[in-house]
Symmetry: D2
Subunit: 166 residues, 4 copies
Amino acid sequence: MSRNIVIGVMGPGDSATEIDIKNAHELGKLIAQEGWILLTGGRNVGVMDAANKGAKEAEGLTIGILPSNHTRNVSDAVDIAILTDLGNARNNINVLSSNVIIACGIGLGTLSEIALALKNKKPVILLSEHQESQQLFKKLAPDLIFIATNTHTTIKQIHNLLKNAK
Amino acid sequence: MSRNIVIGVMGPGDSATEIDIKNAHELGKLIAQEGWILLTGGRNVGVMDAANKGAKEAEGLTIGILPSNHTRNVSDAVDIAILTDLGNARNNINVLSSNVIIACGIGLGTLSEIALALKNKKPVILLSEHQESQQLFKKLAPDLIFIATNTHTTIKQIHNLLKNAK
Amino acid sequence: MSRNIVIGVMGPGDSATEIDIKNAHELGKLIAQEGWILLTGGRNVGVMDAANKGAKEAEGLTIGILPSNHTRNVSDAVDIAILTDLGNARNNINVLSSNVIIACGIGLGTLSEIALALKNKKPVILLSEHQESQQLFKKLAPDLIFIATNTHTTIKQIHNLLKNAK
Amino acid sequence: MSRNIVIGVMGPGDSATEIDIKNAHELGKLIAQEGWILLTGGRNVGVMDAANKGAKEAEGLTIGILPSNHTRNVSDAVDIAILTDLGNARNNINVLSSNVIIACGIGLGTLSEIALALKNKKPVILLSEHQESQQLFKKLAPDLIFIATNTHTTIKQIHNLLKNAK
């Protein structure tokens, strides 16, 4: 059996910056082109929405792990909506279900996901110039945290991490 | 956008009967042949395992919502493993994320899923001759509970329910 | 160390009958008089609210495990509100955290709690004349299900169960 | 009605430093002396265990929100054990259920709790000299994050925060 590879892209919703959105869209597309499944928090805003849209442009498969018990705020580009009704507690599911996690920008929800991922020994790639986050996580989990400066080096890092995990 | 249709097949794990297993395998196959996505509790036993195997024989897509934080007990026939680490609390996610729920056999976990589905106004098809369950749920939720006697009538019921939901 | 004894009283919210409410109020009072802690789903309706009010009349300690992330619908008679933001998935916490569970009346949420309790090997006392539920659960978990006809026999049953658990 | 005030003390388990443990023990005691209820993650290690022990020395009431479905790793000084079986997803319950959250030391789990608390607009007091955490959270949530240098100033801060919340 070769279970599918799932890449989690986490990042801000309403507070995403223009560069976060651009990166997320590119990442979604590149992830789909690699044949990987995209997993996000599934809502129709910010990094989640952009990553899903990018993935669908490249005909990828997209999973959204929603905080709600309804589909009203689900991104149109989510193929499969997992409705958790867990609020922010669903963040732990996001990271447990991904082989590699990418933090595309920084917000409070994203921070909780990075911390939960590292606590679960999952590798995290920070695609963000946010200095304070880089410093904190490089100190707390130097072996599991990776810094990327653009979407293409992010994809290379994912390849390395998947190779090492075999 | 037309988000994919997800059919949840719930049922006993270790305590599944031979007929539950046979029904689950057939159901998985039929669901896949309809182009629907199969959602189960994802473990490598009982109804979950059989339904996933049936779906893969027909090249369907299978989602497993696992109670654990690891993949050791995941059915080989699950394409996408959502690791919740929620124990039985994940049962609520199973039913929220499915358009229609089928109870293929009866056990305590399955009962909790039927009850949670009905509480969330989700239709449930009982594919089981279990009289006590039929009587209880027909009394408590007559408009949402449907009895099926074999896998083919189950598929017909799903079609009816999906048509009415539009 | 002697950790405190927690008795869970589950039952319908808005759909509670007059007799459910009366029983819940009496039960809450009797539980408090025994020096046990009362645990409920915590909302300001039905069995939850009545049990908490009964317990406070006898100066008991009351814990509410709320489905929400806010206190707007919390019973005034809850001393400690645990805000889970888990929706109905919090039902599993209700039963795991109680030494003995009492189903005071029957509804869909209550049914899910009975099923989850039994799945977790927790004893459940049904204080309800609901025949279909009695028959179903006596069949599925004969060693863990107990039928009570009034609040005083319920308290006696709890004493028996606590004694046997030692 | 005046629902009880709950103060959450979060901090590392096995990786707690000596000073974290000392602070946690003092904090637990001071919180109990104020008549507040102590809420922690409930396990029998690190900051959780020390805070609970401190609170019991002053005859306080202690609530533990456990990640497990059993009581084997519960601190002896926890009065009421809420068994969530949610793993680290229970961290969200910890912060939602506390009026004020204190991070007594820093670890990955604690970081997730700080982030989740701030996302839920809950005030957090950092009782830690951990520079990287202070800098990150002062930048991300300046209005909700407070730095304390010892347990006594922490208690003063809690008083201020509770006064402002009225």
